[in-house]
Amino acid sequence: MSRSDLPALTIADLQSLLRRKEVSPREVLDALCARIETLEPKIDAYLSIDFQAAAKEADKVDVDLPLGGVPIAIKDIINVKGQPCTCGSKILANYRSPYDATVIQKLRAAGAVPFGKTNMDEFAMGSSTENSSVKVTRNPWDMSRVPGGSSGGSAAAVAADAAFGGLGTDTGGSIRQPASLCGVVGVKPSYGRVSRFGLVAFASSLDQVGPLTKTVRDSALIMNAMAGHDPQDSTSLNEPVPDYTKNLGRDLKGMRLGLPKEYMIEGIDPEVKSAVDVALKQLQSLGAEIVDVSLPHTDYGIAVYYFLATAEASANLARFDGVRYGYRAKDPKDLLDHYGRTREEGFGAEVKRRIILGTYVLSSGYYDAYYVRAQKVRELIRQDFVKAFEKVDAIVSPTSPVPAFKLGERTADPLAMYLADIFTNTGNLAGICGISVPCGFAKVNGNQPRNDRGSRSLSELPIGLQVLGKALDEARIFQIAHAYEQSTDWHKQRPKV
């Protein structure tokens, strides 16, 4: 195999080569470096790359470890010692992490090599990665379109073979939605399954770290290394971690999959709907039974999410005060001026908007009407899932109601952007696990005229199927997603970049 073909490998295939000593970790890293240098000017998935530090690690790594010698891209909201951690924000432009997040410690212990930090919506607030203060990441399937977000950098890098796998974070869909829009696999673990220590907090009761990869098996491998209890995160669950690869390859006979009738909304793209319909038939042919279920409070999900997530964000982002780290405004005349201008100059528009909304819903006189009521409706949403999971083993739906939208299309209308998470954010509110797996393509008019007569080329945009499972039932959603994936060849399609 030519060195330049290495970046197209899955993690599982790369490991076979590494363990047979057909390539060295250093050669893998160099091949990836060359690929990134070619593609980065087009896609802009990375915010920082440190090949020198990665090469030192690659030179001494044990390839027999579970992820031995596998380079992993890290969303720039997770602390990697000695590296920048900008969160896509001007306020952290010059920040360098003094420590490793627990997930990074665990990945290193498993032999993985973090080498670069990926672009994202500022503080993970957004669904298109356009809220990054640094740069615009493009969807490798159509450079005029968004990669989704907020983990758009990791999703775009994996889709373009500019990463073997990446970490993202998912607060309302920020792993699954970009995975869907970029045609890769993305997993949001159950709340508490993966440590949040060293993850810069957005909404602490919703945030989870998870993998973005080319295949379901690769995500299971990363979860094997990353999941588990962490004494440094009091919300991490002290439950045993199963081997997430153990159910891969098992069939779906007797598996009951719920189809929520509330998800068949207006505004769902017809090609997304038909791709998911075909995927459901495929799941049936694999032995699964499709069962109608009801999640009656689904329609309230976005409203609940935006009150709770912004409330928690307004408190979490109070730490950015220009005292201990981060940007500080020049020559403040007093302390209020120091705080007010530091935050004005350091934060971008969407972060400001959410701090204002979150502060408002927590403020005296509105706390009960907005915040407490939203918490109560959250409980009803959680109970919807508990009741549904009494009847079914997992729930299936589209991941996103639409394929990748155009850059700039939704930036002027925050509410339209918020609705991008309509099928994903109830999973965060309920604390359950979810995965997005490629399930087809939508054909849309491309950006470039195809020929001299001016007729337009067709772009193919990936569509994602979401599988939601009970809390801590990751092994089952991996089994379902893997069985589906292996019976199709969607995951083998790669964008022509």
Binding site: Y300, R324, D334, L380
Partner: protein, 96 residues
């Protein structure tokens, strides 16, 4: 439930210690009024018998042994500070 029109972005920005330009204030006033209007649907829900959920999983107080362990040196803790002197964070003057 409060009305969307109650939101006063200029006042809330003071609570949040976040200065906004006049343009931002006006823009957010309109955009967040739209969001609040959308969220009025929460009023329809009967929540009279529901306990508020702060977390999706039941979390109780979590304790650990109070033991010394290695952590940042003073230098590491100060490594990202915008202004330091004599191993201290220098802050904007608080009292006259």
């Amino acid at each position: 439930m409060a009305k969307a029109s109650d939101l006063d972005v200029a006042y809330v920005s003071k609570l949040a210690r976040l200065n906004l330009t006049d343009e931002e204030t006006q823009l957010f006033q309109k955009q967040l009024a739209d969001v609040l209007k959308y969220a009025e649907k929460l009023r329809e829900v009967d929540v009279s018998h529901v306990e508020a959920t702060a977390h999706a999983i039941p979390i109780f107080n979590v304790f650990r042994e109070d033991e010394p362990r290695d952590w940042f040196t003073a230098q590491e803790a100060l490594s990202n500070a915008p202004h330091i002197a004599n191993q201290l964070f220098i802050v904007t003057k608080v009292v006259e």
